[in-house]
Amino acid sequence: MGFAVGICLALDLRILGVAPGVRIAEMRRFVPIVWIAFWINAISGVLLLIGYPTKALTNPVFYLKLLLIGVGLWLFSRIGRRVFDETAGEQRAASPIVQRLAILSLACWVGAVTAGRLLAYTYHRLTALG
């Protein structure tokens, strides 16, 4: 989670003006790490889900978390398509659309992490038995 969400946050911060000396197109080198980290999370998440399926599947917050992760990843790839360009990347990163996408992406990850943590406190049923 640290690397998957963290690198997305770092990319969003870079787009919003942090560390301007880092050429944004070069940040594409970190994309594979995001995906490796994401799949580690996805697989371990599925294992946890198999452990207590009822706990998560009966909790609306779980679906909110999945939605936010989905939108976050979609935004990540959309932002990436625009800014990981050797020549036009910097200019596109400064455009209002990409700035807005970056803010939205930050909000999605903050929401996803918060929703994920709240899962431990908001479930109604732990198992199908009660």
């Binding site: 690198i7 997305c8 946050l9 942090v18 940040m27």
Partner: protein
């Protein structure tokens, strides 16, 4: 002996905790945990990517440029340390006796020592003896210069001029003439691509006072 210390810590924390009441409300602990995890993401996203850069990922990114992510990683660490302290001050017996917690602290200490060693060795080799002091000196010199040009009454304005939100720019924003006009120390800061100080865009046409707050030509 160690056990006595642990018992003493737990008893005293439970007796005097300033945050336990708030943390035991319905949302206290969950919110603190969410903040703790967000701090973790920020910490690993910024310091972890810097470490990856040192290990050879994205070699074309200058290390100094990448280093500007570090303050955000430190922010993440501060968020984590303070939210973590709130857990400790609420349920000390969950942590004080817990070997996993001891290991966690050990690893944080190793990370701290590692960072300290880095800043005292490799970092100095890359950026010179004391880049932070040198940067501060460059800022101070620039500030003195501005104060001299504008008169002593404008000292505060000169300082405000150097605030990060204001006229602190990266080298790419400077016209070549501006770079030539900068002092040697400032140029060091520019070359290192740290937050660099900037002379007024109107070199030779000195602004008249603190009321000059409009956008500087060429600013983004």
């Amino acid at each position: 002996m160690l056990h006595d210390l642990q018992v003493w810590l737990v008893t005293n924390i439970i007796a005097h905790s300033p945050v336990a009441h708030m943390m035991r409300t319905a949302w206290g602990w969950p919110i603190a945990e969410s903040i703790h995890f967000l701090g973790l993401c920020l910490l690993i996203g910024c310091i972890g990517t810097f470490d990856l850069r040192l290990l050879g990922v994205a070699k074309r990114v200058p290390i100094a440029a990448m280093h500007r992510l570090i303050p955000w990683g430190i922010l993440g660490f501060v968020i984590n340390a303070s939210s973590g302290l709130m857990f400790l001050l609420t349920e000390p017996d969950q942590y004080i006796y817990n070997p996993s917690f001891h290991f966690k602290f050990l690893f944080i200490a190793i990370a701290g020592l590692n960072a300290g060693t880095f800043y005292l060795s490799s970092y100095r080799q890359i950026f010179g003896a004391n880049p932070v002091a040198r940067r501060a000196a460059a800022r101070e010199a620039h500030c003195r210069d501005l104060t001299e040009r504008l008169g002593p009454g404008h000292h505060l304005w000169a300082h405000a001029h150097l605030l990060p939100s204001g006229v602190v720019h990266r080298s790419a924003d400077l016209a070549p003439a501006d770079v030539r006009a900068c002092s040697g120390e400032t140029n060091v800061a520019l070359i290192l691509n740290f937050k660099s100080v900037r002379r007024p865009a109107t070199v030779g046409n000195i602004p008249t006072g603190p009321e000059r707050t409009g956008p500087t030509p060429g600013r983004r």
